[in-house]
Symmetry: C2
Subunit: 410 residues, 2 copies
């Protein structure tokens, strides 16, 4: 089979970047349920957080100038004029020479500018001995220190982490607009493939692995999944099922097609689903060369290689970036791959990016990546691996001890 349009990894990623965007559906949900979802609105704070100046310690609210020069041997003497209660307004003005007891989180009284910790004072009746001088603002969080009024709290396109939900809670934003989860449909093809439920295999049959692994990976990365099952290598039934899934889903993943016959069908089906059709027909990687990426209408359709290890590696390389685009994510990604040393020489062909599976080992001198060799048809090689290492297209291989970047499998 010929690949008319073989692209590099970078070219393929640029094509993904250029062609795909958020699926468009947004919905309003409770912010507390939104971890892992992508925010679809800019959230601007209408108020200050905290709304008032607060103490960060248990101690006495004072004017810092009243403590200047205070030491263990020569304390400052202040008059205790009140006690701040948690969750209550601090209304009593704090005059020069005065101190008011304040608990952690308590509201600073007007007139006070700092808090001296309980450890650094001694109460003698209504008199307070202060044994340490403090600076103005010390042990205080001022109104608006956390979030200012009118500040952009979180921008649209951000995938929400626990702390992001926390800051939304702090400004009273309990309902937010998020992008809906992209719906991914997975369809396996191949005359030899039977659903995993089949207990008695006929000679020549194997169970469907890719539907399960690809669906699970898509779900981990924030998608909802529709299982399309397995279809035989017959253009009409393949097209019919693919077309039906294409209508219902935001992203169609076809898996299988490692034999010439099936690969041909896959391309025909991808072209028949809609314009503009196939964008990438083959990528200069190993494993995973027979990867096909198409666009039918606005929707991505991807033909994954049939070998289970290839399929999951290709999904990590290109399926996840597509999912991120569909999810509305706009964050510029930092390369957060782990660095490790490779435990042995690995040869590679120039002009092709190789992805080798590795197991991470912790040794006294740091992390090492042990290649897990084995044909890409063996799912067990991925089970034994923690991640994958790229040998870039311009390298002839990597030498034992060389530092490599490991993309971890989750």
């Amino acid at each position: 089979m010929k690949f008319f349009n073989v692209k590099t990894v970078q070219e393929t990623l640029s094509i993904i970047e250029e062609h795909f965007g958020p699926v468009g559906k947004t919905c309003r949900i409770p912010a507390a349920d939104a971890v892992g979802m992508v925010l679809a609105e800019d959230v601007i704070s209408a108020e200050q957080v905290p709304p008032f100046s607060r103490s960060t310690v248990d101690g006495y609210a004072v004017r810092a100038t009243d403590t200047f020069g205070a030491t263990e041997s020569l304390p400052a003497f202040l008059e205790i004029t009140g006690t701040i209660e948690m969750g209550k307004a601090a209304e009593l003005y704090l005059d020069e020479g005065h101190a008011q007891y304040i608990p952690t989180g308590g509201m600073m009284p007007p007139g006070a500018d700092s808090v001296v910790m309980i450890e650094h004072v001694e109460e003698v009746g209504e008199l307070l001995n202060v044994f340490r001088q403090i600076a103005p603002g010390e042990n205080v969080i001022r109104a608006g220190d956390d979030v200012n009024r009118g500040e952009l709290v979180i921008a649209a396109g951000h995938r929400l982490r626990p702390q992001d939900l926390g800051v939304l809670a702090s400004v009273g934003k309990t309902e937010i607009s998020v992008y809906g989860k992209p719906v991914v449909a997975v369809l396996s093809t191949g005359d030899e493939i039977v659903p995993a439920e089949v207990q008695q295999l006929a000679p020549g049959e194997v169970r469907d692995i890719n539907s399960i692994t690809i669906a699970a990976a898509a779900r981990q990365f924030g998608a909802e999944v529709m299982y399309g099952g397995v279809v035989k290598d017959d253009y009409d039934s393949f097209y019919k099922k693919a077309s039906q899934l294409y209508q219902e889903a935001d992203f169609l993943l076809l898996s299988g097609g490692s034999s010439v016959g099936t690969r041909d069908f896959t391309v025909q089906v991808l072209e028949a689903l809609g314009e503009p059709g196939v964008l990438v027909h083959g990528v200069s990687i190993k494993p995973g060369k027979p990867t096909i990426i198409a666009k039918a209408g606005a929707k991505p359709v991807m033909g994954l290689p049939g070998h289970p290890a290839s399929a999951l590696i290709v999904f990590h390389l290109f399926g996840i970036p597509i999912l991120e685009k569909l999810s509305g994510e706009r964050t510029v990604k930092t390369d957060l791959r782990l660095e490790a040393r490779i435990t042995r020489n690995v040869a590679s062909a120039v002009g092709r990016s190789d992805y080798i599976r590795v197991k991470i080992e912790q040794r006294p001198d740091g992390l090492w990546a042990e290649p897990v060799f084995g044909k890409s048809g063996l799912i067990s090689t991925l089970v034994a691996s923690d991640g994958m290492v790229e040998i870039p297209a311009n390298q002839e291989g990597i030498r034992e001890g060389e530092i490599v970047k490991v993309q971890l499998f989750r």
Copy 2:
């Protein structure tokens, strides 16, 4: 307040390791739905995967010896005696000097030991010209290469990744026993704390951040969450609510208690919930010193610091390891923290582990970690951060350019 029992990070982790285990509930679920769950049974394969020897390429099944010495100029000549069909038994015995067409994934015919790729042959009627010699076993996955009969496919205690579900599918294991998700209850305390839903804050009041961030983080790490809401600093109402949640949940997280009054209540409530009571009362870390870990019956109860950034850092340090134990996870963890260089000097006190929030920057010479300074009461510092860096207890600080390990926030 005194901490009678301040532990180091390592001591605290050892106490967690020693005291807590799987919540015990297991359930049978479809394997396809089990990504992120922890397997509760050893899965042994009753069969071989693949169940028969298969070709990994499109080509001709042959005996390797028949190709020995074949070159472009002096090809080997074989007789084409059949065609293997995908998904069908290969029944025709392959004799010396013969070849049978075989598609990728097809079943090897008896008598054949290798496959010559279609690219290296030429068909001339029923005659096959083979232009390259191949080795026995070349381009073949043998029966059992992926999984052997009687092999331990995945051991109990393993958190299931997509590829793990794939190998389970390959052996026809579509229903598995997993540990139930631990149920985490989160309860916030403090007279100044009001639920995030409250739109009009009275003077002195702030919204509850920790319930939201801690619940979201627990959910990300595989827990189900019960929100307990907010209770006031009153022993009776605090105990009553905590006790009710303790009955219903597997792991109770109390948040708040940064003022002396609340902290005292928290310890009393933890002790009252059941034996053996408080195991860790204070950890030598910053932020997060007022962390409390208790055990009531078999269940963990944790008192988190009230400051939002401290609470989430402490949850990452100790809450997640507790959740892993409750989940039944038995995998020995590798230290997979990312390495980066710190962008500036950071001072630290010896005898205490400091956790500084950092933003990761990608520079031409690699990853750099930029400290995000700010009081631990500010949730916005975590929003601006990608992870945290530990300055170990035996270090006085870190110098600009030094390599540090970054634990990423998800």
